[in-house]
Structure formats: structure tokens, C-alpha cells
Amino acid sequence: MKVKKLFRKTLFGVLFLFFLILISTSLLWIRTIDTQLSAEYETNSRSIAKTIADSSVDILLNRDLSALQSLIDQFAEIQSIRYIYITSETGEFLAHTFVPGIPQDILDSEPNSTEAVQRQLPGLGNFVEVGMPILAGMAGTVHVGLDTDLVALKVQRAIGQQNYLISILVVVGFLSSIWFVNLAAKPLGDLLAYAVALARGDAGADGPASKLLERDDEAGHLARLFAHVARSPTASENRPDADSGESAG
């Protein structure tokens, strides 16, 4: 399909617009989903930490650490939760889910902090860790590590799906634009051919010219105007073959 020169810029403009939409919506989605998912996960992590903290009180007071471990193991099965550990009020690690050992970064951190902190643990990934005091901190603190790489993966998946859909729309839209442009450009092409024929004096009223002259649009009006101008005496005098006839005679 040959694109008429007149509309080439328009087509590229349309294409550019599509890409602009694609990029801007992607960026907006990334920001929105990432923010909302992270907030959602952090809220869930805090809820889980609170549940563990509330459930741990009796267990901790009984000093039954195997029951405590059993409790956190159940929560650690939740997909986004990558680790849980419980520290005593004195900072001692009472139970945890780390394999093969507690990362140095965590050993070095403040054991009873309840602030949400970003962690990058070598070999494990990136995490947001939330803390929740047990018995107002008198019995220790529960720490829950949320896997932010998982959030990033989910965002990537959502954006990937959105971009896939938009890309399909871009291709369909681009091809449709070419088709529409060519459809719109065809009467112009016919008009150009008709004008050339008129100028040469070999434009008849049959065939493609008749269809063009019958059109009720700008192309039809222009064709009829060209025909009218061509039939005028001034036009006959100025016609190239008339000039050549005179000179030949």
C-alpha cells in the first residue's frame, strides 16, 4: 500500500501519538500499581505481624519456642512474606525462618525497631521489613519481611500485559490509518490525473472522469471547476497544444 506524500507526516504523527500514550500510561501504571501494591503488601505484612504478635504472647510467656516457630512457619507460607523473625525484649533472636542462617545485615540491625525499613539482603533479594511489638514491646518484637522483588515482578507483569494490548492496538491503528489515508487520498489522485488530462486536452466525460465529476464532495467540486475553467476561452488560448498548433500553422 503506497502512502501518499501528503499524509505521510500525519501518519507518523499518529504513530508518535500512540507511542506517547503507550509510554505515558505505562509510567502512570507503574507508579500507581507499585504504590498501591506496596502499600497493600505493607498493610498486610503489618496485619500479619500484629496477628503473630497477638498470638505469641502466651507462647512467649510459656517460653515454648517450638510452638512459636510452628506459628511463624505457617505465616511464612504466604507468598509475599519471605521471612519472619521474633526477637525478645533484650534483642535475642527467639525464632526465625532464615536458611542457612540469619543474615548479618539483620543481626546488625536494631532488634526491637518497629519502623518499616528497606533491606537488601545478599543472596535473598530486596525487602521491606515491618515490625510489631509484642505486649507493647515488653515481650519482644515480631519482624516480617515483605519481598519487594515480588511486587516489582507483579508490576512488570501488569505493565507487560498492558503494553502487549496497547502494542496490538498501535499496529491495528497504524494499519487502519494507512488504509484511511489512502482512501482519503484516492479522489485527490484522481483529481490530479483529471487536471493533467484537462491540461493536455484529452479529458473525456467517460470512465474515471465521469465518476469524479459526479462526486458530491470537495474533489467533485474541484473537478467540475477545473472542467469549467478548461472550457473557458481563456483557457483554450492558454492550452499548450493550442499554442503549438498556432506555431505549426
Partner: protein
């Protein structure tokens, strides 16, 4: 599901030929955690049905199988002699693969559908700790868990201690004994290698408490994920423990992982503050024979992996035939040759003629029968607790009297220590000479 009337449990051809009857409710059906449909199998009037959920598959299958075999030998003996009050003892058996969720599901089925008389011979801490709340929920039904193969605290203490009866010593007693002995011979830097779950935590806590009594702290700790095979690498764990230069390592795990760790500790040069060679202690749950088999099978020089192993046991050595119960056990294991529950055991497994685990199963069954006799001719669940409490200074035949009471829900207190000699675990008499 496998319902086995032990007058004819899954018996060897020899035992069948000896007159055993294939019993139970129809053909044995395997119903593991993978689940198969099964018929209702409530106990008949001439049966007492005991519900079992244990590891018959996976890397810890040896524990479930050996415990079952030991118990089967004694129940078989009793059933052949007419059962308890004319009732045969039947084991309703499920596989949980040493995983908590299937264990809970199996227990629910045993209690609500199979309506077993009691629960018996469960295997593992992560499984049992998850089952205990179920027992509490149905406490009005008086369903008790008897003699689980775990030394953890949850079934020994409130709020769940009232729903279980233990025979074996606890992990605290095992780890406490190991630590005391190591410290006594000058090995004061003690590290722990443990399973990252309730079992591992129970052992970890035991070691930590025992060290605190001596004014010491852990020299290091490393964990592994439950379900590891012998082929797994434990190099990372070895490297972590190396940093603490331990004089001894106490392993709280299952046989496959502990064998892998013992192998890698030697191969990757775990050396302690006392120089090359760090004793590696394992708890009774490890399954000593299974551990030893992995470390010796196909090894040219297996001694370097086993020479510093020291395993605690909660039953005496089955090699010591001067002990009456050991004689009895060996005789019945030979006579009845109990086989693994064949429909549950789908992976290849060669049973041991004798093992610490099957001896424990045997002693569990022996005490269980005594309790069932004390319940009377018309057994009711509600009478079970009083029947257990009536056991005072009962002689199981191992030289330690068994007593139960409202404040005493663990029958035995003794811990034994063993080392490898001539490719078998033998009693450790002199710590100083062996490991000092």
C-alpha cells in the same frame, strides 16, 4: 489409608505361613497425603482401632516405617494371644510424609470419620505441634495422642499437654545431656545445626538453655529446610559454623540432612577450637541406623564420616541382650518379621532387622497394651486418662520404671549415648576417652 488388624498386619510370607490372618476392613488401601477415596472403617466390637499418621514417604520415611514395625511386632504378639480383653488391636494408618498439613488432615479423618479409639505413634514435631490444637478443639471427645515420636515441649506443657501422653525423654533432656557431657570433657564451644521448623527450634532451645546453665552461649548456628535429601549440599551451613570454631556441633534434624551435613563437615574441613575433628551429635529423632546407612553405603572410607558421631537415644541399645525388653524385642522382630505398610510405602525401602526407632515403637506398643488392659473390658475413651494415671512403677523391662500422673505425662526420663564402632551404634561409656 491402611487398616491393619495386627493379627495379620502386612506380614511377611513367613509370618503368614505361620498362621497369621490378613485382617482389617477389606484389602489394604493406600491413602497417603495424596489421598485416595476410602471406605468408612469404624472399629468393630472385637477391635480397638488406633489411628496413626506418620512419615511413610519422603526423606524421613525410615522413621515412620521403623516405628510402625516395632509397634506392629508387639501388637501382633498380643493379637495372636487373643488381643486385649478379646479385642484385636488394629492400626489405622495414614501417610503424612512428615508434613504438617497432611498430618492435620489425616488426624481430622481419623477422629471424625474413622472414629478411632485413640491416636498413636505419630512422627515429628512440626506435624504433632499442628495436630495438638485439633485435639484441644475436640477435647470433649477425649481423644488422646499416645507416645508420639518427638521430644518437643508443646505436647508436654500447657495448653496442650493434657491431650498427649509421652513415653520418651524430651529433646530438652537429650540436648541437656549432650551439652553437659561436652562441657564436662572441655568442649565448651558448641554450635547447632538444625531444621528450620518447630523440631529444630525445640532442639535449638534445649541446647541454648543447657549452655546457659553453664554460663555459655552458642558458638554458632545454621539451619536447613525440612525435606532435604542426602544429595543436598550443606557446604553453606558448614561455612557458617566454621566462623564460630566450634568444639562440637549438635544436629537437630532428620537422617538425610544430618548425614549430608556430617559428610560435608568432613569434606569441607569443619575444624574447631580444639583442633581438627569436631564431634557431631545427633538426637534420637535422627534415626541412627538410617543415618549410618547413608554415610557408609558405597563409601570407601566411611570411618572418617562416622568416627566422631555421637547420637543420643531415648531407649537402651538393642545390642544389649542383658536387658529383658531388648531380648523380647529381638525375639518378636525375628518371629513376626513385621513389614512396612506396603500400600503406603511406595518408595524403595529396606527395613533394618533391629533399630533404636523400632525398639521405641515396640516399647510404645507394650505400654499401650498395658494401658488398654487397664481401661477394662468395655473400653471408653473417657476412661483412658485414669487408666494411664494408674500406671505407677510399671516395669517395661528396660530397667527404668514407668509412672504417669496428672503432673507427669512422660513415662521415661533416661537418655543414652552411642557412638559408631564397627559400623554400628554402640553405647558410649567413656566420653573423655572417646571424645575428650
Amino acid at each position: 489409608m491402611l487398616q491393619t488388624a495386627l493379627a495379620g498386619c502386612v506380614l511377611s510370607p513367613a509370618a503368614k505361613a505361620a498362621g497369621a490372618v490378613q485382617g482389617g476392613a477389606g484389602p489394604a488401601e493406600a491413602r497417603s497425603a495424596k489421598s485416595l477415596s476410602r471406605p468408612s472403617a469404624r472399629g468393630r466390637q472385637d477391635e480397638i482401632v488406633l489411628g496413626v499418621s506418620a512419615a511413610f514417604s519422603g526423606p524421613s520415611q525410615g522413621l515412620g516405617i521403623e516405628l510402625y514395625r516395632g509397634a506392629s511386632a508387639y501388637f501382633e504378639h498380643v493379637n495372636r494371644a487373643g488381643g486385649v480383653g478379646g479385642r484385636r488391636i488394629v492400626l489405622k494408618t495414614y501417610d503424612d510424609g512428615y508434613q504438617p498439613d497432611p498430618s492435620v488432615q489425616n488426624t481430622r479423618t481419623l477422629m471424625l470419620e474413622d472414629r478411632v479409639f485413640l491416636l498413636f505413634g505419630y512422627v515429628g514435631t512440626p506435624t504433632v505441634t499442628r495436630v495438638l490444637p485439633l485435639l484441644k478443639k475436640f477435647q470433649d471427645e477425649n481423644i488422646y495422642l499416645f507416645f508420639p515420636f518427638t521430644g518437643a515441649q508443646p505436647q508436654r506443657e500447657p495448653p496442650y499437654g493434657d491431650f498427649a501422653f509421652n513415653l520418651r525423654a524430651s529433646y530438652r533432656q537429650e540436648t541437656g545431656g549432650l551439652v553437659d557431657n561436652f562441657v564436662r570433657i572441655g568442649r565448651r564451644r558448641i554450635a547447632v545445626f538444625y531444621q528450620a521448623d518447630a523440631y529444630g527450634r525445640s532442639g535449638w532451645e534445649g541446647v541454648k538453655r543447657a549452655l546457659e546453665r553453664h554460663g555459655l552461649d552458642l558458638a554458632g548456628e545454621a539451619t536447613y529446610r525440612r525435606g532435604q535429601q542426602f544429595t543436598s549440599s550443606m557446604r553453606e551451613q558448614v561455612e557458617i559454623l566454621k566462623r564460630g570454631s566450634p568444639d562440637a556441633v549438635i544436629c537437630v534434624g532428620s537422617y538425610a540432612a544430618c548425614a549430608a551435613f556430617a559428610r560435608d563437615a568432613v569434606d569441607f574441613g569443619l575444624e574447631g577450637g580444639s583442633g581438627p575433628g569436631v564431634p557431631m551429635a545427633n538426637l534420637s529423632f535422627v534415626g541412627s541406623e538410617n543415618l549410618l546407612k547413608l554415610l557408609t553405603d558405597g563409601q570407601e572410607d566411611s570411618r572418617r564420616y562416622t568416627e566422631l558421631l555421637v547420637n543420643s537415644q531415648v531407649v537402651p541399645s538393642y545390642h544389649d541382650t542383658s536387658i529383658p525388653a531388648v531380648q523380647e524385642y529381638r525375639e518378636m522382630m525375628q518371629r513376626y518379621d513385621p513389614q512396612p505398610p506396603q500400600d503406603l510405602v511406595t518408595e524403595p525401602y529396606t527395613p533394618f532387622p533391629h533399630s533404636f526407632v523400632s525398639l521405641e515403637g515396640f516399647l510404645n506398643a507394650k505400654l499401650m497394651v498395658e494401658i488398654l488392659r487397664r481401661v477394662g473390658s468395655d473400653p471408653k475413651r473417657s476412661d483412658l486418662e485414669q487408666a494411664v494415671f494408674s500406671v505407677r512403677n510399671f516395669d517395661l523391662g528396660i530397667g527404668e520404671m514407668v509412672s504417669f500422673g496428672p503432673d507427669r505425662r512422660q513415662g521415661l526420663q533416661s537418655v543414652y549415648y552411642t557412638v559408631v564402632d564397627d559400623d554400628r551404634f554402640v553405647t558410649l561409656d567413656d566420653w573423655e576417652a572417646e571424645l575428650g
